[in-house]
Subunit: 652 residues, 2 copies
């Protein structure tokens, strides 16, 4: 749901109901713990989202991926989810690889990839599930696990029989219909169910008509919508829809779109799916079969033209794209169709998780702003998520982050790339300052590499932070090692392309925030300077041992991002919370060692420099509470430098 | 706690604790339902409030009242609580009248007056309780009832024996000490306990020294502080404190200050308390004993001079004033001492209740803004109160308001006064428009009376609403009968004398709001006009039958007042809640009949006009969501009038 167009979701629903008076029922009980619907798209089931889109005439797209083969592939795929999620798919789906331990906890399993897509990437996801040659117990176990992980949608498939001499099994799963029935029987209405349609008939079906009847059975058994096998001509699909409607299939039918991306992938897919590529396509492709770019360009052109016909027909509410786990062709097709969200609307300033348990969550500490996956991981066991208020719970019960190895928490860059960015050899603390500075400025370092990430930021600088670039460069160069910041904002429209979020017609606000590591010498000067900025600036200053210096109330969170919208309660998605800061501090300090220090040999000078910083520097955060005025935090740092530069005061 | 200086309460508490890391304890459970401490003064016990004031050196005052004799007296006393509460007493106390059914539910009982002071006037209150000639069961019953009503503080007294031949009773309550012990024994630490001290010794005590020992026993039995009997010379009290400290009494000792207000009241009190008036006072008073003003002026002068000495001594953290239920002298003494809060800081834009159950409450619907006592009454059975978010509970479970006769809900004006203000005889709907207009303008009506209240507003126009006077006058004159409104505010300092509230250094905001009754003809035109103001303006339009026209989300509250403060979460104390509006609508329509219509004979023309309005008019509320722009709601009304004035459109 990240970055999705929310035009319908956010809209006030117009009602003219003769409500009648309520005051007759004056029940004594009242539960004041509230759950405002921040965004219907976050709480609705997939079938309801589709229904609303169909009603409003808003066309959507969805994306199909298959699980990766290697751990590295998994890290890349998750990064791709983040990028492609920003285009605004209504959902993604993950295929089931019967041979590849798909229900396991392996980082490459279908189950884990789908879980990560939902929990960490915030994408509405469908998990494929095939039932052929499976026991009911096994299937139920898979479904239970899926439910536990937050998955709400299943694509129910028969799957390909293993071995050629497959026969129907008494009491087993012989058809997808059996699986649909089983899901309904065991899980009632819990899952939204999708089934496959074959616009040219299933290759094993006796006839096209016979196959349509099977499809009708699947839908009647309890499926909510249909995604079709790929096809090459718009009329194939449109006839298929007409035929479906004729026999009484009324649910949404989504065309499966396969942008041809290469000669070999086309051949392979066609072979697997037993489809025939129309002559007019083969005639174009055969002559250019060794020119990948040319084929891809043709594939894009062909897909766009076909989709235009489909969308114009009025029978197609959304397009389902077979991505083959690649980005370029898919995005280009969707761009040309105007379906790719170029300027995605953000429901909140941070990307929300799609786990159903988190549907009301709308407040988070600012500290994890650049490490949202780590935040989600460390809070995954919570029963409730903050809504409206962060609260002053004395024990937010953060899980420990020792699992840096989990693929969804890993840096996108391998060790070699990190060494090139952060230095093969560090000689002094200033070498570290330079890495931070190069990250800010996007300049290449001495060995000619751009610093594209830091242990605390796995992505390049946010556009918002870009606004602070010049200031940030200056202070990092002098050892104020910034890891998080935001400018103050005094009521910008919620539609602002850089800092806007939430429904249209609103206003967003921020208090200026700055978080950095710096030496204890700097902290001594800083504390003297901060006296001048009381009570305007709140600070928390802590070292790895937990020595904590603050002028803020022990338990009071400080809202640093909030929005005011038509017809809504105030939303304050980001807070500086003193209690969580102590948990974040452990993670922030540990990243020095876990992500940076461990790149070097033990006892090596490089490692020892990182260790020294870890052991001796302080983590500082500053909030300028006076958001309508110019941000004073830079002046605070300047004053600190000035004090450090001043000649020592003569003794009286 | 209404309108109290909150300098210390709001202040961020500076801490420099070496907190140590928390991340080791990663308990799985977490309760995310939060209770931020909005204002320590609201949640602290009285003893803690005193301690904090003593630590910060902030002097306080408190006020003693006795229960009234008549129902009318009770209405007046409650109005006096509201007025004197605004001066910022740390607490008030209500004496116990053993002969007057003090623990009953009568509107004149000590128990009811104290309960009203807490629940409806938001004043920290102490209930006196005397134990002489009472059974333990009776005392326990009183204490249980007090606890149930939200009372947290007891002044434990022996009381005067009934009859002259009082003797100690075996196992009974013979001394206040017995009562203190009983409270401690039965209610543990629940109540804060105050006991009486006698600066010149209790008249029945064997000696001054013996009486001091008794006092020590009372404190040792579990009392938290001492309030003294009145005295006439500062040195009397200062010696008493010194003597108390000498024998080991360490709790706060508050001097009882009695501003002489008249010759006869002085004589009577002196007789009752068996005190002697010093010669130097009698010499001044005797010659002017028939000149009430002169005596009062002297009494003020004398009290101020004595209090100055007391405060200067450093031994007096607060003054306890015996008000005799009068305002002038007490307020004047406190003003001259600089203790009266001339510009009281409001912790929230509305006056908070002091009931312990409501200590976290910080959101209310705007509808009851002028009828807070009714709101408190209708929500008294809630188990939780909204904190941070109003929420979208579909059943806020408002109690019915049928008890218009309850003294704390009654109009301050008797029937005759209301008839003079609202008209002895109404002849047409426009007569009603005129009443509304006269209320707005504070002009006298045709019969020469100022309209000081309306059924929906028992007080004159708020200063904030005064800002809208001209506009309001214009629309009321034309039958847009306004009952609630607020201007938009885009970030005024929280210290603003008119619209400010909350801790210093913050900013307050409002969306413009307007609520009125108007005819169905006007509503038809209004609805056409409102189309132009979509989605900027949210509206709810409802008639007495509950026909409900709105463009707002069914369940979404709209925050219309909020504040941003240093180091805190956002506070949004006022919302327009669609669900509560349906409950408010019943009350708002009923007030036409209950408070106005019933002033007239049944079937009388006046009564029928009110009934007609009740049956046919609509209640409308409008919110202009675009708070940074100029309030457009007046333009909306102007457009409506323009449409109504326009010649009918020619048929095509």
């Amino acid at each position: 749901m990240v970055n999705q167009r929310l035009d319908t979701g956010w809209q006030a629903c117009k009602s003219d109901s003769s409500g009648g008076s309520n005051s007759g029922e004056s029940s004594k009980e009242s539960s004041r713990c509230s759950t405002p619907v921040l965004d219907a798209d976050r709480t609705d089931r997939l079938r309801d989202k589709m229904r609303r889109r169909i009603e409003s005439g808003d066309r959507w797209f969805s994306l199909e991926f298959f699980p990766p083969r290697t751990a590295g592939g998994a890290v890349n795929l998750i990064a791709r989810f983040d990028r492609m999620g920003s285009g605004g798919p209504l959902f993604i789906d993950i295929t089931w690889h019967p041979a590849g331990d798909p229900g396991s906890d392996k980082e490459t399993s279908s189950m884990m990839i789908a879980s990560t897509a939902i929990n960490y990437c915030g994408l509405e996801s469908i998990l494929h599930l095939t039932c052929c040659n499976q026991t009911k117990e096994k299937i139920t176990a898979h479904l239970n696990k899926a439910k536990r992980l937050g998955l709400k949608n299943i694509m129910a498939l028969r799957g390909d029989p293993i071995g050629a001499d497959w026969e129907e099994e008494e009491g087993g799963f012989n058809y997808a219909t059996d699986l649909v029935k089983h899901i309904r029987h065991e899980f009632d209405d819990y899952f939204d169910i999708c089934v496959a349609g074959y616009p040219t008939g299933h290759p094993e079906a006796e006839s096209y008509e016979e196959d349509l009847k099977h499809l009708k059975e699947k839908v009647d058994a309890g499926a909510h919508f249909i995604v079709t096998q790929l096809f090459f001509r718009a009329e194939t699909f449109l006839k298929f829809v007409k035929d479906c409607r004729a026999i009484g299939i009324t649910c949404p039918i989504l065309p499966g779109i396969f942008p041809i991306q290469g000669y070999h992938s086309l051949r392979q897919l066609v072979k697997l799916s037993k489809l025939e590529v129309p002559e007019e396509i083969m005639q174009v492709i055969e002559p250019i079969k060794d020119n990948d770019d040319a084929i891809r360009n043709y594939g894009i052109h062909h897909a766009v033209e076909m989709c235009k016909v489909l969308l114009a027909s009025g029978d197609v509410p959304g397009l389902h794209i077979y991505t083959l786990n690649r980005e370029v062709a898919t995005i280009e097709v969707l761009r040309q169709l105007g379906l790719w969200a170029e300027d995605p609307r953000r429901p909140l300033p941070w990307a929300v998780s799609a786990h159903p348990k988190r549907k009301v969550e709308d407040v988070r500490p600012i500290f994890w702003a650049s490490r949202p996956k780590s935040y989600i991981y460390r809070t995954q066991d919570w029963d409730d998520f903050p809504n409206g208020r962060w609260g002053n719970s004395s024990s937010p019960a953060f899980g420990e982050l020792t699992d840096y190895y989990l693929f969804y928490l890993k840096s996108k860059s391998p060790k070699e790339a990190l060494l090139k960015m952060w230095g093969e050899e560090l000689t002094r603390e200033e070498s570290v300052y330079e890495v931070f500075t190069n990250y800010i400025t996007s300049q290449v370092n001495q060995s000619g590499h751009k610093v594209r990430c830091l242990p605390w930021n796995d992505d390049p600088l946010a556009p918002e932070t870009n606004m602070l670039k010049e200031k940030l460069e200056k202070v990092n160069r002098r050892g104020v090692l910034t890891i998080n910041s935001q400018p103050n904002i005094n009521g910008k429209p919620s539609s602002d392309p850089i800092v806007g979020w939430g429904p249209p017609g609103g206003y967003v606000f921020q208090k200026a925030y700055l978080e950095f590591f710096t030496s204890s010498e700097n902290v001594s000067a800083l504390l003297k300077v901060l006296k001048k900025y009381e009570p305007r600036v709140n600070y928390h200053i802590v070292n790895v041992q937990g020595k904590n210096i603050t002028n803020a109330h022990d338990m009071q969170p400080n809202a640093v991002t909030w929005g005011i919208f038509p017809g809504r309660e105030i939303i304050q998605p980001t807070v500086v919370d003193p209690v969580s800061f102590m948990y974040w501090k452990d993670e922030a300090f540990a990243l020095w060692i876990e992500q940076w220090g461990k790149l070097y040999e033990e006892e090596s000078p490089s490692r020892m420099i990182i260790q020294y910083i870890h052991d001796n520097y302080f983590l500082v955060n500053l909030v300028d509470n006076d958001f309508p005025l110019n941000n004073c935090l830079w002046q605070v740092i300047d004053d600190m430098f000035e004090l450090l530069d001043a000649p020592p005061e003569p003794l009286e």
